[in-house]
């Protein structure tokens, strides 16, 4: 047994995480000691805190600092992903307050828990040790179980919470067993150490312990990004969870799972790339197809977007399977644009639905285009972007994902992706058809547009359009982020 030496600790790489944790604990206390009633100010403070954290994170761009004996790293890859997490959390906080007020579950704990989720995600993105990645993943997941079951009085929300909890911790078991076996095969939990030892190994693909570990970890991450055939929990959880939390869960945590798995597979296991990219090929095709085909026949709009979110994870897996600079940087770009367009779409759904969301179907949008032309225009932009129609962010993202696959020689994968994308146009356009071409069946019970929701919508529309029209500067950042991996 070697002696334990206490290393010199540099706290700069986790400064934003520390800041957000302290803020979250402070907000919890504030919530306890403040008189019962309005909790709106907590959402403002959290939004400002998230913005401040974004400034902190952004100021670290270009640095490469390792700390905690190589367990955490601050690099461009982590920074780019952290901005995505903060953005999706910020938008989710903006659209939460009004919804929670309407549903009668505006408990102040919501905002601290969102902040803790962000801390977990940030640790996942900057973790360079299996332990750090696991801890980040669990901080994120445990907080998400609470968020999805947040509306305690609502049965659907209960079900979502239980389902997510049982299946999420089940998948954690697989992920951990995979980590244990990889530790056994290499003798270290550091990502750089694993890569170094695998580099010296002759024929690592014949080491049973290593391959089994990789497969188990692969399963665990496939659960987290909701890739078929491990996607069964997604539609139920996304439908049952409070809508702002669905918007959050489908963007931030999904990006976090991609961040951790990209780092693990590209940095620690590049020697097995032939094996895992074949697996990803199959997984990507399955995920895209299952997501899109099932979304075609959904009437419930939250469920439809849940299946669409599975399909979008499939598109990102196309870039992951390619594993080259274009494909992986396109994942970063796509996750950023997906945060804008998906949270925007959910914000509109929140405004349209009635208290308790009795049905929340696509038909409820009938005639929306004439009653509220500006909001309907925003929804149209989001739907076009999700479908991948230029000049929106969704188009550029898909274009680079598929061109990454083509560069790597996966022509069929790209063709299947494009076909899937074409099929998805049906259910996105269906929303637009109902908004503009059908007469309303009943009077809108309209939830008033408040300033935070309006701000979220403006940000989402601006992001979707700017990333679609002038994508080059963000793409450059994404390429820089991946090149230093």
């Amino acid at each position: 047994m070697d002696m334990i030496t206490i290393p010199a600790v540099n706290f700069t790489p986790i400064l934003p995480e520390i800041f957000l944790s302290v803020l979250a604990m402070f907000l919890l206390l504030m919530n306890v000691f403040s008189p019962n009633g309005k909790k709106t100010y907590l959402s403002y403070i959290s939004f400002i805190g998230l913005a401040a954290a974004a400034v902190l994170v952004g100021s670290g761009w270009g640095a490469h600092v390792e700390s905690f004996n190589g367990a955490v790293v601050l690099d461009n890859f982590a920074t780019f992903f952290k901005i995505i997490f903060l953005l999706s959390a910020g938008l989710a906080v903006l659209i939460s307050d009004q919804y929670m007020e309407r549903e009668g579950c505006n408990h102040g704990e919501l905002y601290p828990i969102i902040l803790f989720t962000v801390v977990g995600m940030m640790l996942m993105a900057s973790g360079t040790d299996l332990m750090t990645i696991f801890l980040g993943l669990e901080v994120m997941s445990v907080a998400l179980y609470v968020l999805s079951g947040f509306n305690r009085a609502n049965r659907k929300s209960n079900e979502a919470g239980i389902k997510y909890f049982l299946l999420g911790s089940f998948s954690t078991g697989f992920l951990l067993y995979g980590m244990a076996l990889i530790y056994g095969a290499t003798g270290t939990t550091r990502i750089a150490g694993i890569a170094a030892i695998l580099g010296q190994m002759t024929l690592p693909s014949t080491n049973i312990m290593l391959v089994a570990g990789m497969l188990l970890m692969f399963t665990g991450f496939a659960f987290k990004v909701a890739a078929a055939p491990f996607h069964m929990w997604t539609p139920d959880v996304y439908e049952g969870a409070p809508t702002p939390m669905t918007a959050f869960m489908s963007t931030g945590p999904k990006a976090a799972a991609f961040a951790a798995s990209l780092r693990l597979f590209l940095v620690a296991l590049p020697t097995l790339q032939v094996e895992w990219s074949q697996l990803l090929w199959v997984l990507a095709v399955l995920t895209m197809t299952v997501g899109n085909i099932t979304a075609l026949r959904q009437d419930n709009i939250k469920r439809m977007l849940a299946y669409s979110s599975i399909a979008h994870a499939g598109y990102c897996l196309v870039g992951f399977a390619a594993g080259n600079g274009t494909g992986t940087s396109a994942i970063l770009f796509y996750m950023l644009s997906y945060a804008f367009m998906n949270i925007g779409a959910f914000a509109i759904i929140i405004l349209v639905a009635k208290k308790g969301e009795p049905n929340g179907t696509v038909m409820d949008l009938a005639g929306f285009g004439f009653k509220h032309p500006v909001l309907a225009l925003a929804m149209t932009i989001f739907m076009f972007s999700l479908a991948g129609v230029p000049p929106t962010a969704g188009f550029i993202g898909k274009f680079y994902l598929f061109s990454g696959a083509v560069q790597q020689g996966y022509i069929w994968l790209a063709i299947l992706g494009v076909l899937n994308s074409a099929a998805s146009v049906y259910y996105y356009l269906r929303v637009i058809v109902y908004m503009y071409m059908k007469d309303p069946t009943e009077e809108f019970e309209w939830t008033k547009l408040t300033a935070p929701v309006a701000l979220a919508l403006v940000l989402a529309v601006a992001g979707t359009l700017i990333l679609g029209i002038v994508p080059s500067f963000v793409l450059q950042y994404a390429q820089l982020a991946v090149s230093m991996l």
Partner: protein, 100 residues
């Protein structure tokens, strides 16, 4: 250590029992116990490997897994109670409000 394989086989068997339990049992709390069994199988693997490799990383990992399992138990049982309050059952066959 002479007999690493023995430990690994036991933990693999425990992990499989946990997995099968999750897939076949109907009571949410029993399912949760099966998940805990899976996590503890992983702990056994880590400790055995750590001893075999003569390296403490694995044992430290076990501490973190136990801590996380405790946090998960708190949240999970709270969710199960919230569900029970609304529906007077914790049978997963009754978690059926949402279907495709």
């Amino acid at each position: 250590m002479e007999n690493l394989n023995g430990y690994l086989i036991v933990s693999a068997i425990l992990f499989s029992i946990g997995t099968i339990g999750v897939l076949t049992r109907k009571n949410a709390i029993v399912i949760f116990m099966c998940i805990e069994l899976m996590l503890n199988a992983v702990n056994l693997t880590f400790v055995a490997l750590s001893r075999h490799l003569g390296n403490l990383d694995g044992q430290i990992f076990v501490f973190f897994i136990m801590t996380v399992a405790a946090a998960e138990a708190a949240v999970g049982l709270a969710l199960i109670i919230a569900f029970f309050n609304n529906k007077e059952t914790i049978d997963v066959d009754d978690i059926n409000l949402m279907k495709w």
